[in-house]
Amino acid sequence: MDIFLIVFLVVQVLIITLAVTTGFAYLTWYERRLLARFQNRVGPNRAGPLGLLQPVADAVKLFFKEDVIPTASDKVVYLLAPVLAVMTAIVIWAVIPFGCFNLNGDHTACFDPARRDEVWNALQVAEVNIGILFILAVTSIGVYGITLAGWASNSKYAMLGGIRASAQLISYELAFGMAVLSVVMFGGTLSTWEIVLAQEGLWFFFPLILGFLLFMISATAELVRTPFDLVEAEQELTSGYNTEYGSMKFALFFMSEYIKMIAMSAIATTLFLGGWRFPGLETLGDGVAALAGPWPAAIIVGLVSLGSFLLKVAMFLFMLVWLRASWPRMRYDQLMQFGWKSLLPLAILNLVMIPVVVVLVPDNRYIQTAILFVLGIAAIFGAARIGGRGRVKSKVELVQPVAEGKQASAASSAPASQQTSGVAS
């Protein structure tokens, strides 16, 4: 029995790793198609129906490229860096519950925190009592891949990208951790499983709206995606830390970035949108159990919960792509100012607000939620007012008045739009 459990675990891990890697491949397709839509293009549509074989073609191309190691690089660290990056991206998945398929054949145990021992969940690898801390620890190790890649390449561009990356990740990790802590405070547990169960009837999105906003901003910064992607700003750093990487090693960095993107979406789903929960899921399980017995009910609950989880993750991924399509890149000083002067004070305010409300207001989740929701919205708008004050409003004039005949010719030679740097903010 012991050996069987170990084999089962290994198979589970293999399946999740493969699924996540496939998810990465298709996320690139999803992103490229969506970006094309946003920019009024078509996007990859040649390989297979709707371009669905494009990721396969890309993978084959990357596999057959020449594997180059720069002579001036530090070889061991150079090879270690992409491995570290991918490893941390995949390990996060260990504690995330994708759903609840109870292999003991009893779906009701899925919804009861007290009956944790009766659940043998096929859709979660490890249920540890410190799952949230595990996620924080693993994301904090993720910096190494990027930093070491920048250093080991022995190239100025890569080095600058690596230094920028580590400064950015260290700065935003604080706000990220505090946003996650707000969930821990409100849910009263560090286990991902119990956090999902604690969101019965009330997703944490509503009481923790400020925490959710902080989480999404700092998660985007942790993922080094637009508007925080100055780590790999093509125009100034060629491609940042992975400039000297080619072939499959570059693909590994690419992969770690997209797997982290899916993982962040999954974490956001678990923490704020009720994880695999879906309204009416328990009723559905009860109904199927009454009609067809406990086993079909367990299977149906497993499938529906997995589906709802994936749906929510896909929604977050869509939001991330949307963000990339519509936001310009921040400047480095703006990034640091925003992280330390805006995001961190808000995160601290959030951490003070939640325990005060939870302790002062009598034991009613809905009253607490209402107060916290109002306070959170007020804090967001207040911060926007304070942050927006004193900023130079940029004057963007796309069309020059035609009346001045002299200036019309001058305007045609020089660009009429006078964009100041304030636009990027």
């Binding site: 410190i130 801390l133 190790i141 930093t147 250093w151 080095m159 260290i170």
Partner: protein, 220 residues
């Protein structure tokens, strides 16, 4: 199962000792930092073997995720400081070794042998969990906890004061070349402020300070 745990303990111990040795013996300072991280990982594994998952994860979160990242970051910002000609060993290493060996034998070994280690025969899951640790910090050990917090705050304030620039000398933005020239022009009568400015041998016969635009070019 017990044998497996013992083998893992041995391997982890060897890993920690080996990594610690590499930290002090490797020439490349980034490699030394990496070995330090390996050493931290080994210690986290030891905590896991002791069934203190919380401590293990906190070890990774704080030491590997924060402290070592900052070490690496600081090392990357400095110039290449590993000089291959410089000996790794300190000159009087024999006497140092003797003193540390005597101290180890006189202080640490008796302590380790005489201490009553709290090792439970069977697993005690709730011993070092987050809930228990939180209660301990907020009840029994409240005073040490708060004193440590004040100490850290003092260190934080000290770091800020050291890093804080003089308000007058602070530059809001990078100056343009023309502004730089104008700024240097104002200070022209005073001798060049940079004493470390190396004078090329050819211009050593010329006692006048280098022309202002050249300096401005360096500054900008």
């Amino acid at each position: 199962m017990d044998l497996v745990v013992q083998i893992m303990f041995g391997v982890t111990g060897l890993l920690i000792l080996g990594a610690a040795f590499m930290v002090v013996s490797v020439r490349n300072i980034i490699h030394a930092a990496l070995w330090l991280i390996t050493c931290f990982f080994g210690i986290a594994m030891l905590y896991l073997l002791l069934q203190a998952e919380f401590l293990a994860i906190v070890q990774i979160l704080l030491y590997i995720g924060a402290v070592a990242v900052l070490v690496l970051f600081a090392v990357m910002l400095t110039r290449q400081i590993d000089d291959p000609d410089e000996p790794v060993l300190f000159q009087r290493w024999r006497s140092t070794l003797l003193i540390t060996a005597i101290l180890f034998a006189a202080v640490l070994v008796p302590t380790i042998y005489n201490h009553n280690w709290l090792i439970f025969a069977d697993p005690q899951p709730a011993f070092a969990g987050p809930r228990e640790l939180g209660f301990a910090f907020m009840n029994a050990y409240l005073l040490p906890f708060q004193i440590a917090a004040v100490l850290l705050l003092a260190a934080l304030v000290g770091a800020i004061i050291i890093a804080m620039e003089d308000q007058e000398q602070r530059r809001v933005r990078v100056l343009t070349l023309a502004e730089e020239v104008a700024l240097r022009g104002e200070r022209e009568p005073s001798p060049p402020t940079r004493p470390a400015n190396p004078q090329p041998a050819s211009s050593s016969s010329n006692p006048t300070p280098p022309p202002a635009p050249e300096q401005a070019g360096e500054g900008a």
